[in-house]
């Protein structure tokens, strides 16, 4: 049994966490890449491997009406790829579904 009030609480725990950035920095990176012409591609890197990315991509494809796939990367693990600029859509969807906390999302691009 533990008395919660006596537990030490490190107020800087999250600060430390965010400063050590490795591949597993707990952040979900949402990026955009240009393809040919006006076409773009959105990638989502860093989703926990506990999630079934295939299920996520299936749901996203339906929700955003775009194509998508899951790519396995040796360093970054499973990465979600969606056609078009789905950065806003995917951020909303991930937070709404509770898979990712808003502060974990890091959106890149222009």
């Amino acid at each position: 049994m533990s008395i919660q009030n006596l537990n030490t609480f490190d107020p800087f725990a999250d600060a430390i966490k965010s400063s050590e950035d490795d591949v597993q920095d707990g952040l979900v990176h949402v990026r955009i890449q240009q393809r040919n012409g006006r076409k773009t591609l959105t990638t989502v890197q860093g989703l926990s491997s506990e999630y079934d990315l295939k299920k996520i991509v299936r749901a996203c494809k339906k929700e955003f009406a775009c194509n998508g796939t899951v790519v396995e990367h040796p360093e970054y693990g499973e990465v979600l790829q969606l056609q078009g600029d789905q950065r806003e859509n995917i951020c909303q969807w991930l937070t709404k579904s509770g898979l990712v906390k808003p502060e974990q999302l890091k959106v890149h691009g222009f």
């Binding site: 240009q34 591609l41 990638t43 890197q45 790519v71 990465v79 890149h108 691009g109 222009f110």
Partner: protein, 309 residues
């Protein structure tokens, strides 16, 4: 720092019509937070710490707002006998002329709140007179010697009095200017973009071109290089506005101090990590390292296969 950061307005006049570069948006998040804390306390002071910053807001675009700001500032100053107004009028002119003006900003909602408070405080200051002078002397505080508890406002006032006392330069209305030209972005053909004044912007920001280059390319998810004319050629089609957005994020993360938002900082590399050392407040913090992360294959797969095979 004023000197080298400020661009001669005359240089810029031609550019007047160009869209501005609104770095403030990048800082907006932070500003929102700090405003809520500082605004009520913004009593009596035209120049609060938050004002000492790169508020890249008025980069152009918002001429109207700017004018409003100027108007408000004058008002503020007239209510404040202790602030030497000498420097201001000139700078205000600059602001109106200059598009790309990262000057301290008095705009938006903050302004109204502050103004009200200033009037209040000035009144209070007058009535209180000398006992406020030595703040550390507890006898100067209204609640001392009484049973009652101090109020939040009194505490705020106390802390600001102390701040003003310890940092006279803050009160003197000295402002830091940080003016930058907008990026000149031109499309080359259909597939490439030129960022013509890339090197110049690196100099303005006092950052290594390589560092900014790495950041830009990582963020844009593309490749590119600096050519013989010191312009940056980026693969892909990008608009000025988009490059500005990325620059703004760069400035927020790697140029302005995370504590006081002063642009007077040095970026040092220390055992794989970059640290941002502030010359104004002395704070030092680590900044995120630049990583491209996952890059999807976008080119012609056949060509890639041919290359690697």
């Amino acid at each position: 720092m004023d000197d080298d950061m400020v661009f001669d307005p005359s240089l810029k006049k031609k550019k007047k019509k160009k869209t501005g570069f609104d770095i403030d948006a990048a800082l907006a998040g932070e500003q929102g937070e700090s405003t809520s804390v500082e605004a009520p306390a913004g009593t009596g002071d035209v120049d609060l710490p938050e004002d000492d910053n790169l508020d890249l807001d008025n980069f152009g675009k918002k001429k109207k707002k700017k004018k409003k700001a100027v108007f408000n500032m004058e008002e503020l100053e007239s209510t404040l006998p202790e602030t030497p107004p000498a420097e201001e009028p000139e700078q205000q002119e600059d602001e109106v002329i200059d598009d790309l003006d990262l000057d301290i900003d008095f705009s938006k909602t903050k302004k109204k709140k502050k103004k009200k408070n200033i009037e209040e405080l000035v009144l209070e200051d007058d009535t209180k007179g000398e006992d406020q002078e030595n703040v550390e002397d507890v006898s100067g505080d209204l609640w001392s010697g009484t049973d009652r508890d101090y109020t939040y406002d009194e505490l705020l006032e106390r802390v600001f009095d102390i701040m003003r006392e310890k940092n006279p330069s803050m009160v003197s209305g000295k402002k830091q200017k940080f003016i930058m030209r907008p990026p000149q972005v031109v499309r080359i053909g259909t597939k490439k973009t030129s960022f013509a004044n890339f090197t110049e912007i690196c100099k303005t920001l006092h950052r290594q071109p390589k560092h900014l280059l790495d950041f830009l390319l990582a963020e844009l998810g593309t490749s590119g290089s600096v050519d013989g004319n010191s312009q940056l050629i980026i693969k892909g089609r990008f608009q000025q506005k988009q490059i500005e957005n990325v620059l703004r994020r760069y400035i927020k993360e790697y140029v302005t101090c995370h504590t006081c938002r002063s642009p007077d900082t040095i970026l040092q590399k220390d055992t794989r990590l970059f640290f941002l050392q502030c010359e104004t407040c002395g704070s030092r913090c680590s900044v995120a390292s630049i990583k491209s992360g996952f890059q999807a294959v976008t080119g012609k797969r056949a060509a890639i296969r041919a290359k690697t095979a």
